[in-house]
Symmetry: C2
Subunit: 252 residues, 2 copies
Amino acid sequence: VVSARVFEDAGFPAVVTSSAALSVSLGYPDGETIQKEELFAAVRRIAGRLNVPLSADIESGFGATIPELVDTVRRVIEAGAVGVNIEDIANYEKNTLYSLEAQVERLHAVRKASDSLGIQLVINARSDAYRYSAGDEEARFQEVIQRERAYEDAGADCLYPMGLTDKKRIASFVKSVTKPVNVMARKGIPTIAELESIGVRRLSLGPGPIYATTALLRKIAQELREKGSYETMLTGAITFDELNALARPITQ
Amino acid sequence: VVSARVFEDAGFPAVVTSSAALSVSLGYPDGETIQKEELFAAVRRIAGRLNVPLSADIESGFGATIPELVDTVRRVIEAGAVGVNIEDIANYEKNTLYSLEAQVERLHAVRKASDSLGIQLVINARSDAYRYSAGDEEARFQEVIQRERAYEDAGADCLYPMGLTDKKRIASFVKSVTKPVNVMARKGIPTIAELESIGVRRLSLGPGPIYATTALLRKIAQELREKGSYETMLTGAITFDELNALARPITQ
């Protein structure tokens, strides 16, 4: 809730959960190990405290079958999400992908399920083909283009080719598809201005914020252990009233 | 879970929840507004992932009656806590205190309840008398001494006079009681070495870590909005594998 509210207060028009940040903060490793009920409860907590729309990262949908996937989508919508990030990883231990055909069928099912609930769900179709498909870098780049083209035909609203950081590659990808493109802010990624200039429409921070705050917690702990002082913790910190103001009664 | 595991990994021998940090991160303002079930679930999540002992901040016990207080204590013990922070605030909107006699009765009840469960519960008896009782600074200092003396007689294992920051005041307080004394790290507090030299045995960070990490989140958001860059987020950040390693299957 705190991080979502901070980004809302900073003027961002929407918030998306990070699966890694949400899962690990609740004690589960990333990769669909979180109990589904805990995921839905967390989405409900966050959605209920935001004024801006919330999208939920549902990894690959928590279930290999279409009914399981549809149940996950229905439950996050009921919890207050109006969008999902959904990826094409079939097995998080082996980093294998659903076939293009299987993922197209899954995206069709998500679109159909949300339509039947009367929700214009924003489907952000992530593909990990650039990271995990077979072949050299060029082959994997072609694979992610082929997949994301199929995903937009299947009803995705936004395309999220995970792992692209090179400006030319990103620009080439944007030109190869028609729907808005999402990239993740990570080391080596162009600035927002550069991304805008090549047509990128959406930027994800992913677990970037929790990587940074956890590093800060480590520094705080280290200073306490080594120096017995609190400078890292106290310098620039917000106040009790500022923290409390980030909590808000559930609005739904 | 993440912050608890970071402090465990840094070598601290025990972890305590902060009511403000835990509540606000779940969307509730501090001051017993969190749903009790959500508090117990959070304690269970954290206790289940730690190897070191966990103590739970239960504010004033979530209930003006002894049975309500005892239920809270029983439930946090069942959730895996082996200690509690319990304070003497009767009303969080008005910042009024339980009478000394009432709080003594409440501490007796906590000790009796934990004994009947076969747990050597570490009762950290916080008093807010230095902040919220009547009179001038000297009168409030005498009041917190009087109260904490009564609380140690009532079975408290540790005494936590909230609001003391001055080294002489803290030293004087330590000499006025027999049980170990806990103070909170905040602006103006002596270093750990100085606190040790005057006999302080336990240091709480309170919501200090979340004040710091929330400030960092704000800086990350601000840089994104103003500069369109990610330096604050990426500099010194931990990795995906390091984050994931902080999650752990429930051990209980």
